[in-house]
């Protein structure tokens, strides 16, 4: 049977708003996060190979690139968690006014960076 459901228009014909930006970035970070979690699963599996094999992974994580990727992962997780909180609040029926969606969208973007810094400092036991 032919499916006549409407499909999303192409991204390039959207007029950009904060809400559409947050929505698209949420989808992108969602895909990035599941790829990252899959790599973390492989990281866990590599532990079964023993301590000597683990040295290569440890060296990678201790490099500048390793630290940069870790901060990137922290931002990606923070952004998605905050965006999901925004969606849950909207599911309760709040925040549908244009001005409110713009403010909450902006809050997701700004707080994702603040949370990245806080999580990193908390994780590294600086605070």
């Amino acid at each position: 049977m032919e499916n006549n459901n409407p499909l999303s228009p192409h991204i390039q014909i959207y007029k950009w708003h904060i809400s559409s930006l947050v929505s698209i970035v949420t989808r992108i970070t969602g895909i990035i996060n599941i790829i990252v979690i899959t790599l973390i699963c492989f990281w866990f599996a590599s532990l079964l190979l023993g301590e000597s094999s683990y040295e290569i992974i440890k060296l990678f994580f201790q490099s500048f690139l390793g630290k940069f990727i870790t901060i990137g992962i922290t931002w990606s997780f923070s952004f998605q968690a905050l965006s999901e909180i925004r969606h849950l609040i909207m599911d309760l029926g709040y925040g549908f006014e244009l001005k409110t969606t713009n403010v909450t969208g902006m809050m997701v973007i700004i707080f994702s960076f603040i949370f990245t810094i806080l999580i990193y400092l908390l994780g590294r036991q600086f605070i």
Binding site: N3, N5, L7, S8, R27, G30, I31, N33, I34, I37, T38, I40, C41, F44, A45, L47, L48, E51, Y54, K58, F61, Q62, G66, K67, T70, I73, T74, F77, S78, Q80, A81, E84, I85, H87, L88, D91, I119, Y120, L122, G123, R124, Q125
Partner: protein, 109 residues
């Protein structure tokens, strides 16, 4: 209940459970990522982290499968390709966390 309503409800419940687990996991990931082998094994092999990491993986894959299938619904036009993509996604979302959880439960100090 209609299947789409059920799917939406599952997506929201898993999202609600996943948010605190996500923050817990990423804080611990940041504290552990460059640590030595013994410290990482110690974290994964002891409770409550063994249980919480497993729970995080189950909900993360469950939530992601539902979310990504929505992306397939929006952007894949061909029904056959969409079905294959969804089946592949489901197999992937069961197999990977299952292997990871088996690994975690087999780690010992």
């Amino acid at each position: 209940m209609r299947p789409v309503t059920k799917k939406w409800l599952f997506l929201k419940i898993s999202s609600f459970i996943l948010i605190p687990l996500m923050f817990w996991f990423v804080i611990n990931f940041v504290s552990l990522y460059d640590k030595n082998y013994q410290e990482i094994v110690k974290f994964l092999a002891t409770q409550p982290s063994k249980f919480l990491v497993s729970l995080f993986l189950i909900f993360a894959y469950f939530f992601s499968t539902l979310s990504i299938s929505e992306v397939f619904e929006d952007y894949i036009h061909d029904e056959k390709i969409k079905n294959v993509a969804n089946k592949g996604l489901n197999i992937f979302a069961i197999l990977i966390p299952l292997i990871a959880i088996i690994v975690i439960f087999n780690l010992s100090l």
